[in-house]
Amino acid sequence: MALQPRNYSAVVQPLSARGSGADNRAWDAMMAAAQRGDGSTYHRLLSEVAAWLQRYYARRLPQAMIDDAIQDTLIAIHEKRHTYDPTRPFGAWLAAIARYKWIDALRSLKMKPTEALDDDIPVPDHEGAVTSAWSLERLLATLKPAQSQVIRLVKLRGLSIEEASKATGQSAALVKVNIHRGLKRLTSLLRSESDAD
């Protein structure tokens, strides 16, 4: 069996949450203030974090899933803010939560069909969609061809299982199995990358 390419590190690249070290320290201080109950600083921090998350998820998720992922992450940050240790960088803490929610979003692809990154659908942020599609392609390239093919057709292009079965020549049951295994493999690849970080 041929080995699959594993060059997904370009997709799962390390995060520098903000531009400079001084900026990162500013976020550390803002989150520490938020833990003490400073609402206005927290509002500013969440606004900046939301903008960063927009860029983060634009490279990793289909356009239609980005807003949900951002909001899920903001709620997670809010609910788990007591776990942030101000002696450590906020950027790493945020990146870990963003990655966790990203994996969650990828897992949710198993549960529901997602909007297609279809060439015919007008997308407001064309650059984001292109980058997102490119990143997904890089991830899918790490899978077996049969798996990536059916994930593309069913999860990204919105075809039914039967249509994907006809298009690929795989049985309907095999399409389901390949989607399940492919998404599971993607999740474990992202996890192991997170472990390596």
């Binding site: 927290y42 788990k80 007591h82 939560i97």
Partner: protein, 213 residues
């Protein structure tokens, strides 16, 4: 809901929080295990031949192994409640530690009787009772670690749950060492491993569902 409205709402409902502390979590777990051990003694469950047992190398092997496994896996579980920390490396060390413990037990065993009549030493009736008791005693620490997982922010739920299961099982088995009259390393390796394995698997498949955030 729009993201801007969500940010407004979250900022408006912001309240000061008490920061999570690794030491406080570890202390809570230690206190829970100490309470369980204390209750165990108060209920008169300690083995009657404790003074004799304390002169047996296999008793100390059993106690030290389970204590070490509980300490290491508990530390791994608690540290991994920080979203930026992965439990995987710690889990690998825990597995290596378990292998060392079992190998040292095997050495103790081999130095005693050789390898004859191994099956007869398993004592199935008492073995199953031991298994049941270890599982029962592991429940409180596993629940305690589950609560800590719920309160913390583990980002590798499966790994943390595995470490929590190992820690809880080792804590339960550690407490049971004081009641169990069997010090045969083969008996301990088989029945304690089965009990700890069952609890660990249960935690691995249950805790991630209950503590997803």
């Amino acid at each position: 809901m729009r993201t801007d409205s969500l940010i407004d709402r979250l900022a408006n409902e912001l309240k000061p929080v008490r920061r999570r502390s690794v030491r406080r979590d570890a202390l809570a777990l230690v206190v829970l295990c100490a309470v369980e051990l204390g209750l165990f003694f108060v209920m008169g469950m300690m083995r009657s031949d404790m003074l004799v047992a304390m002169h047996l190398p296999s008793f100390w092997w059993k106690l030290a192994s389970l204590g070490l496994i509980g300490l290491v896996s508990g530390t791994v579980a608690i540290l991994s409640l920080d979203p930026a920390r992965s439990p995987r490396r710690g889990l690998r060390r825990t597995v290596a530690l378990i292998a060392v413990c079992l190998a040292s037990g095997w050495l103790l065993d081999a130095s005693r009787d050789g390898f004859s009549a191994l099956m007869s030493r398993l004592d199935w009736v008492h073995g199953l009772q031991c298994l049941y008791n270890v599982v029962l005693l592991s429940v409180p620490p596993v629940i305690g670690l589950g609560v800590l997982m719920q309160r913390g922010a583990p980002t590798d739920l499966d790994g943390t749950a595995l470490a929590a299961g190992l820690a809880g099982a080792a804590c339960g088995a550690f407490v049971f060492v004081f009641a169990c009259p069997f010090d045969d390393p083969l008996y301990v390796a088989v029945w304690y491993s089965l009990a700890c394995g069952a609890i660990t698997l249960f935690a691995r498949f249950t805790l991630p569902r209950l503590t997803r955030w």
